[in-house]
């Protein structure tokens, strides 16, 4: 018989190893756990596909038979797709590279989307994977949202820990109505409980602006600026925390904007953020919840160490995280603090109406002092947009390598073929400089390319280890992009100088394999489809593959009749 008094962690029974690993909350923690020793690795839970949350994304089917679906959710929707939408600060361990703040979403398990942290504009040009052991990822704020649902302002997860029996969510709808959604995990049965304002109740309100968790209480802010405490069991307001409204009855509701609640993680204090109802000017007011006197105190100065980000889920961050940030300011995107009614034309005038990347900055307590962040704090602005150079497919080390031909690449949501650079020269120093400038300082370096798919910023070079890259596999047959070195070694008609490309034979084989694979897939697609059943996507793929193959000099004429058919 063994004795338990000895300290033997590496020999823990497998059952206990399993239960401990099951009690971990994030993928990162599970990986750390698995790395300890072989035994822990073997007997711990399987590594989930999900990256940001072990339970999400989650599709909640809305069965029509339930009878209690909400009017706010479009009737065409048959399911709600709940996903994580977090703001991360990613800091490279290599101190010479700049940190980046980014919104990370996970619409499908294990597949992340990166977006502008404030405007949610999608970042499309990035490496297929990012090795997070080279970065420190710090989650500044975590939010949840329903995919393709404009009617929802905020989602709060009530039982987030383990996907046990049921999932409970608080959902704040654009109309200012709050509901609690309970989903039973076994059969996805769900039910809504709506917070109903009623004059008979002790605390009367009409519409809510925001809800947040403060000191383990659920606090709600109504349109007038009164603060309530919500009991999530009964879905009733149980306490009036601030009775004096921010706006009295005289303030015209039509020009008012949605207010926000935000808790400072450092001082643990609850704030409300109000964009004043003035057209043409930008003026914010920040209030702090005075718990003793049950009122809002105006905050004149936020402090040099803090900065407030105005998005749907407002959040505080330490100014020192961002190079060049002097603190005491609110950074926000256009149309973020929307008016209850009417459009936000003043914002368009302030921000310019181009491509959703500009953010504004407002220094607290300084009257009207709206500025574009990029114009006053250039360095700070770069931690938000554009995406950093270390994320683009052309990574830093490639700049140092020589003897590689230049390839122009346009990779978007879908895999698209690479195009040959007409210049047969490798990168010159001048090119390099231009590249860096484009990636770091231009306000819009990632403009969608023009019709032939070639823009300057699309220029990129293939990494020597082609196999490192993984490609998005479409549901239907699609052609993988053709790396250009294939052409060099297989097709004599190439204009390119073979000597310029130093490629190893393995690499070359891979290229051939890719080309042959493309042809094979093309033929299969053509055989399996008739002219009518060919989907638009498939047709696009065929066209792309054909032109690609033609470019590398393969004769594809024999396929043309089949394609035309």
């Amino acid at each position: 018989m063994t004795h338990f008094s000895r300290h033997r962690w590496s020999k823990l029974p497998r059952k206990i190893i399993y239960i401990i690993s099951k009690s971990l909350k994030t993928r990162q923690q599970i990986i750390q756990f698995k790395r300890v020793c072989k035994r822990w690795n073997k007997h711990s839970v399987l590594l989930p596909l999900n990256t940001l949350s072990l339970t999400l994304p989650l599709t909640i089917p809305i069965s029509s038979s339930c009878g209690n679906t909400l009017p706010f959710i479009r009737s065409s929707t048959h399911s709600l797709h709940l996903e994580v939408s977090s703001i991360y600060l990613i800091t490279p361990l290599d101190a010479s590279l700049r940190p980046w703040m980014v919104m990370v979403r996970e619409p499908n398990p294990g597949k992340l989307q990166l977006r502008h942290p404030l405007t949610a504009k999608r970042v499309t040009k990035l490496l297929p994977t990012l090795d997070m052991s080279k970065f420190r990822a710090f989650e500044l704020a975590r939010g949840y949202n329903f995919k393709k649902s404009d009617s929802v302002l905020k989602v709060i997860l009530l039982s987030s820990s383990t996907p046990s029996s049921s999932l409970e969510l608080l959902v704040l709808f654009r109309q200012g109505v709050l509901g609690k959604l309970t989903v039973r995990m076994s059969d996805h049965h769900h039910g809504w409980k709506i917070l109903k304002p009623h004059r008979k109740y002790p605390f009367w309100f009409r519409y809510l602006d925001d809800i947040t968790v403060f000191k383990e209480k659920y606090c709600c802010l109504d349109r007038r600026g009164k603060l309530y405490e919500l009991n999530i069991e009964s879905m009733k307001m149980v306490n009036l925390l601030v009775s004096e409204p921010i706006y009295g009855r005289e303030a015209p509701m039509i020009v008012q904007r949605r207010k926000r609640l935000v808790v400072d993680p450092t001082s643990k204090e609850l704030h409300s953020l109000v964009r004043e109802p003035k057209n043409g000017n930008v003026r914010f007011k920040l209030y702090k919840f005075n718990e003793c006197c049950k009122k809002w105190d105006v905050v004149e100065h936020l402090g040099k160490d803090r900065v407030l980000f105005g998005v749907d889920h407002c959040f505080f961050a330490k100014a020192k995280y961002f190079p060049g940030c002097k603190g005491n300011c609110i950074v926000f995107a256009a149309n973020c603090f929307t008016q209850y009614r009417g459009r936000n034309t003043p914002d368009r005038r302030l921000f310019g109406d181009d491509d959703d990347v500009e953010v504004g900055v407002y220094r607290i307590g300084k009257g009207d002092n709206f500025r574009l962040l990029s114009s006053v704090y250039g360095e700070f602005s770069k931690s938000i947009w554009p995406p950093p150079i270390w994320l683009s497919p052309k990574s830093q080390e490639d700049l140092d390598e020589e003897n590689f031909s230049t390839i122009k690449c346009h990779s978007d949501d879908h895999v698209e073929p690479m195009l040959i650079d007409s210049s047969d020269e490798g990168f010159t120093d001048k090119d390099k400089d231009e590249e860096i400038k484009l990636n770091s300082s231009s306000s819009k370096p990632y403009k969608v390319s023009d019709s032939n798919g070639i823009t300057n910023s699309d220029k990129t070079r293939q990494r020597s280890s082609f196999n490192e890259q993984t490609y998005n596999s479409e549901e239907h047959v699609s052609a993988p992009p053709l790396p250009i070195e294939y052409k060099v070694h297989n097709v004599g008609t190439s204009k390119m100088d073979c000597q310029k490309t130093g490629v190893c034979s393995d690499y070359n084989k891979a290229m051939r394999a890719y080309a042959l694979e493309s042809v094979a897939k093309l033929v299969i697609t053509l055989q399996n489809t008739t002219g009518k059943s060919l989907s638009v996507d498939q047709a696009d793929d065929i066209r792309a593959t054909m032109s690609d193959l033609q470019r590398v000099g393969l004769k594809v004429d024999w396929l043309v009749p089949a394609v035309e058919k």
Partner: protein
């Protein structure tokens, strides 16, 4: 027969691996499925003797702790399981121990089939290591890294963000 047995079985005696005897209230002992099973078996046989349950795997200092836990939870047995006071007590209870004790307690909870204590210990261990680096975990638990560099790299590679 039934009436006499019920009175004699209000208590059981549990013997630790180092031969110390513990007199335990039946309600407290029932927190452990192992002890409960023994008691149920004896009751079926209709014995009038005091039951002695030897636990060859648990030393007396660890058994004291398990019984302390069982006693507290027996008091709350009829109560709501989510009792805040009990949760607080659980946390304070485990906070006192070093990792060696925690290890023994976890194993004892597993052996004595005290599921709630086992889960509590595992959650506590998970919480205490979740923010540590791999090296720190190995150091604290005195675990040798038995991975080859390649194997370690493979697991490390899982820590990537994939995009689409």
């Amino acid at each position: 027969m039934a009436s006499s047995s019920s009175s004699s079985l209000s208590r059981v005696v549990v013997k630790s691996s180092d031969n110390n005897l513990f007199v335990v209230n039946k309600k407290v002992a029932s927190q452990s499925q192992l002890l409960k099973q023994c008691i149920d078996n004896m009751e079926e046989k209709g014995t009038n003797d005091v039951i002695l349950i030897p636990l060859s795997n648990v030393t007396s200092n660890i058994l004291t702790l398990v019984l302390e836990y069982c006693e507290k939870h027996a008091d709350f047995a009829d109560d709501d399981n989510n009792n805040q006071e009990l949760k607080q007590w659980d946390h304070e209870f485990l906070k006192k121990f070093d990792y060696a004790t925690l290890n023994s307690l976890t194993m004892a909870a597993d052996y004595m089939v005290t599921k709630s204590l086992l889960n509590l210990c595992c959650q506590f261990i998970a919480d205490s290591i979740k923010d540590l680096t791999v090296q720190q975990i190995r150091q604290i638990f005195d675990i040798k890294n038995d991975f080859t560099p390649q194997e370690e790299a493979d697991i490390k590679n899982e820590n990537a963000w994939a995009f689409r």
